[in-house]
Amino acid sequence: MNFNLEKNINNSIQNNSTTAATIAAVSTPPGISGIAVIRLSGKQASAICDQLFTPLNQNFKRPSQMQPYTVGVGYWHGFEKSEILDQVVLTFFKAPHSYTGEDVYEISCHGGEYIKEAILQSLFDAGAEPAGPGEFSKRAFINGKLNLVEAEAVMDMISAESSRQNQVALQQLRGKLSDQISQLRDDLFQVIAQIEMIIEFPENEDTLEKRQTIVTQLKQVKLVLEQAVSSFSQGRIIREGFQVVIAGQPNVGKSSLLNYLLGEDKAIVTSKAGTTRDIVDARIIIDGLSVHLTDTAGLRLTDDIVEKEGINRAYQALEKADLVFYVLSPENPETWQQDLTEINLLLEKDKKIAVIAGKRDLSEHKELSLYIDENLGQLDKLDFSAFDDQADLSIKKYILQTFENLGKAESDSMLITHLRHRKILDQTLAQIEQAIQAFDGQIPLDIVSGLLQASAEILAELTGDEVSEELINTIFSEFCVGK
């Protein structure tokens, strides 16, 4: 341990306000574009703009005279009005109702590299300072315009494919997940309290029996954590999309269903059984949820090696399915028995299946519907006809519902969608496993208590109950200059 007794804490700073400097940066991505936006934020923003901007005509005011949230059109000059650089549109946001919480001017200029550089340079010459990476967002954060959870969500949103992906992550983080983690921490604290009771009071002996009770409780905590960690694969759905695989006998209308949902003729449809051979993949977005549709070859016994391979691939696709649309057609009742066998095989593999009673427009549909009700009553049944304009909505709604129920069905356990959360849970789990081992291995109680304390601390970072610098740093490091 090194004590530096002479250390003199820097006790005074010139100005504690982070708004000391007025900062500027190009906020649109680098490269040539139609227009670019340069952002200027800070106390001096209007004074700086006044030096460099001349309104086009009397309809527009000088920057410092502009009404908040209005635009001005005019010429942008080099420093000390040397030359006209561009004709620009200026937007004024007044503190505190701006992105950073400070006075902000956004200069929309033409997107050439030279112009952007020249305007930026003029701003620096007039007293602005270059903004660091994420500095606008940091100011927003310091000024209470953005909190950390929101910031983390913002990052998710940037990297998310669909709005749904982010919404789910955010909802998890704010609501259910935090609650569940807090519950886990409470459970851990309960265990710690019991251990501390034994440590603190001399009349409480450290007995095998007491250790066993505590281990049992710990194993419960461990179980919940393990479930949570494994639910990360459900989080995968959100990240990678919801996998819907369409299967069934040949010619039942599988490809027609795919095309119907997709709204284009992607898969070949013919009246010949065995049309589809290879896997046909398509992606649709339903209410922000990314859904991967897979059309497959009709399942039947065949000697055709191409079809055989197609059927193999159909089974492989089914392995990965989050939801199977199993299509039956009213046209061939003799094969329905076979369908029951296929469906049962899939059920054994814990697949979520919806039975599509297809070709609803045909008169024999009634018998099919009855047959399904009698033999597959426990499964969801959807009536469908490729010739019905309204069917689209109900099937899409069904997909969405199924996805949402996936979370609800597991509402007791956690749904982990975020890699950061997953890492934290992994660490916690490792700590608790170590604690359980220590318990079994006659390690003294104070040490076990320490291990559990460490676990609780790690968990607290997930919910934000403990300040995580790592989180702060990752969040702001992912923002680039101009953000």
Binding site: I9, K138, E196, I199, Q442, I443
Partner: protein
């Protein structure tokens, strides 16, 4: 009173660098520290007979407190050394509960301890010991905040001091309560200190009121020890002071056993029948008592499932038959306390020498202090000990030492010593009091320390001697012997890791006896020590090259090896913790300009002015979200400057 209001008839009695008011454990450490650091110091006792009194339990150390005593010793304090001279029984507590919570405790010859300390004060250069009751503070108020310049005694004399340390313990406006008798009195029948509270109020220092209590003392002639369980000293007796650890001639003053007995069903009935007569429950006592040191009536009410409770009969000295009845702390009326003894095995005929009582006293709200223990509200005024809301001799002594060190350093214009929570229990103690405050007498406990596996009694010197030396309270001689010792221990740990012996002969015999795995080939001694069932001492026979180490040192070696992995883990946690602690906040930081902070947090931070982001994070009313904002704001300022 204000300096300009000083009456002409108060006689100026002296000029000091430091004035210490109160001569309990806090005052004693404070005064010795400032005097040893070369500051002209005066310490005041209301009576010279009450110096370093142990008005409650006649022992020093115990769980977490033993660690404190060792830390005090490592920094150059006095309590450990004096206790070692007056030890009449010794036990290492919690040996079965783990290396972090193992704590030394010694029974102390109480009167002799007081004389021991008094003599040490008398012999101390630069230190004047004075009997006089201080009733008022002198201050000037021409700056931003008031500044204390001296003290006024009851006898009309006044003393000028550059720094004033208040260490008045439980004496301020104290009242002793026994049943419905309320007596203006300090502990042990000593006079209360009246007046100083008003003086503090005049300076707008917020005051609170706490309650604590103590059990009966009985005459051993009337105790039947044959009905009790005898508890002698441990086989191995370890001194508190690292100086005595090195001294082969050190031995305890005497060997006096304690005795254990139990309360009975009748005791419980008696108390429950009379519970409405307890001042705690009748409403006479409104202040808050210590949860962790409850009175017997408290125990019956709060733990109704427990039928009986331990009673320890502890000797209070070599030349006295007075025994302390630990566990019987009570403020029940006298007749109930007399009846109570009749229901306890071995105490049926016990003669009460001093009755148990509760005591109420004024204290300051410790959140009005800085981590240096100087007041935030008044310059040059320091507080230490029970007046800050702590309980216990060791907690008091520790604060006294730190207050003394910091008063002296301030005179030398040096930065104050602020120990971190990961450095010492002393750091935890002061940070808890100052940052979080307390609603009951604060007793140190091991689980208040987040990193207790590192804050052990066997390594307090390793943690703090260097600092004690730099401060100037550890002599060159002791420092050199400390360094030699550290080298010895490190070399021994290295040797144990490198020495490999075969699983044969004597070793396999030892392992068999300990039910420990026997494998083929060789094994390092360190690997063997890592097994929970094997101790360092167990391997002496198969390890002839082993150097001679003191008990504490060999314990240290063993812990460092056995729990190496866990200790490393703790250091990792500390590293994380220190990140926030090392983010210092400038003294004049403008929290009000940070609009991202919630209003409650802004006010609190602005008022307390924490020294680091870490301290800020422990303030009530400051949320993790606020801390994140603070971190980013500080970073941005640093980057911009």
């Amino acid at each position: 009173m204000k300096k300009e209001d000083l009456k002409e008839n108060t006689w100026f009695a002296g000029n000091y660098d430091v004035i210490v008011v109160g001569s309990g454990h806090a005052g004693v450490e404070a005064a010795l520290a400032t005097a040893r650091l070369g500051k002209k110091t005066a310490i005041f006792a209301m009576t010279l007979e009450s110096i370093a009194n142990l008005p409650c339990n006649p022992n020093i150390g115990g769980t977490a407190k033993g660690q404190l005593v060792r830390e005090i010793d490592a920094l150059g304090g006095e309590m450990g050394k004096a206790a070692d001279e007056q030890t009449i029984q010794f036990r290492m507590l919690n040996s079965s509960k783990g290396p972090a919570v193992i704590s030394p405790r010694a029974q102390i010859d109480r009167r002799a301890y007081q004389e021991e300390i008094k003599e040490r004060l008398e012999k101390q250069e630069h230190l004047e010991l004075k009997q006089s009751e201080i009733v008022d503070l002198i201050y000037v108020n021409d700056q931003e905040k008031p500044c204390v310049t001296g003290v006024i005694a009851k006898d009309g004399m006044h003393y000028i001091g550059k720094k004033v340390i208040i260490a008045t313990g439980t004496f301020l406006e104290s009242q002793v309560i026994i049943g419905d008798a309320v007596i203006d009195s300090g502990p042990d029948g000593l006079a209360p200190s009246i007046g100083l509270s008003d003086s503090l109020r005049e300076l707008e220092i917020p005051l609170k009121r706490f309650k604590t209590g103590t059990p009966v003392r009985v005459n051993a002639r009337t105790l039947d020890f044959s009905k009790c369980e005898e508890q002698g000293s441990d086989d191995i007796i370890v001194p508190f002071s690292y100086e005595n650890d090195e001294n082969p001639n050190w031995q305890p003053k005497a060997e006096m056993p304690c005795y254990m007995t139990w309360t009975s069903k009748e005791t419980k009935e008696l108390f429950l029948d009379n519970i409405d007569r307890s001042p705690l429950y009748s409403g006479v006592i409104k202040s808050i008592g210590p949860r962790y040191c409850p009175s017997l009536e408290d125990k019956y009410v709060k733990f109704p499932q427990h039928e009986r409770h331990h009673v320890f009969l502890e000797p209070t000295g070599v030349n006295t038959l007075e025994y302390y009845a630990s566990g019987l702390s009570s403020s029940m009326p006298q007749d109930v306390q007399y009846e109570m003894l009749k229901t306890i095995e071995g105490m049926e005929n016990a003669e009460i020498m001093r009755i148990g009582y509760a005591i109420e006293y004024d204290l300051i709200d410790p959140t009005s202090l800085q981590l240096s223990l100087e007041s935030r509200l008044v310059d040059n005024l320091y507080f230490a000990g029970q007046i800050n809301g702590s309980s216990g001799y060791e907690e008091a002594a520790g604060q006294g030492l730190i207050a003394g060190i910091n008063a002296a350093r301030s005179l030398d214009e040096l930065e104050p010593i602020v120990l971190e929570r990961s450095d010492a229990y002393l750091g935890v103690l002061i940070d808890d009091l100052v940052t979080k405050g307390t609603n009951e007498p604060y007793r140190m406990m091991t689980n208040r320390a987040e990193y207790r596996l590192v804050l052990r009694q066997d390594n307090a010197d390793r943690r703090l001697t260097e600092l004690g030396y730099e401060i100037g309270l550890i002599s060159e001689e002791r420092y050199q012997s400390f360094k030699a010792k550290i080298r010895r221990i490190d070399a021994e740990i290295k040797r144990l890791k490198e020495t490999r012996i075969p699983y044969k002969g004597k070793l396999s015999e030892i392992l068999k006896e300990k039910n420990s795995a026997i494998k083929t080939g060789n094994v390092s001694l360190a690997e063997l020590i890592k097994r929970p069932e094997i101790n360092y001492l167990d391997l002496a026979e198969v390890d002839p090259e082993r150097p001679e180490l003191s008990y504490v040192d060999s314990f240290n070696v063993e812990v460092e090896i056995k729990y190496e992995g866990y200790i490393k883990l703790e250091y990792k946690r500390i590293e994380k913790f220190k990140k926030l602690e090392s983010k210092k906040i400038p003294k004049d930081f403008d929290y009000l300009a940070i609009s991202g902070l919630r209003a409650e947090a802004k006010t609190k931070l602005d008022q307390v002015r924490p020294i680091s982001v870490g301290q800020a994070s422990r303030l009530a009313g400051v949320s993790p979200a606020d801390i994140s904002v603070l971190i980013v704001a500080l970073e941005e300022i640093n980057r911009r400057n």
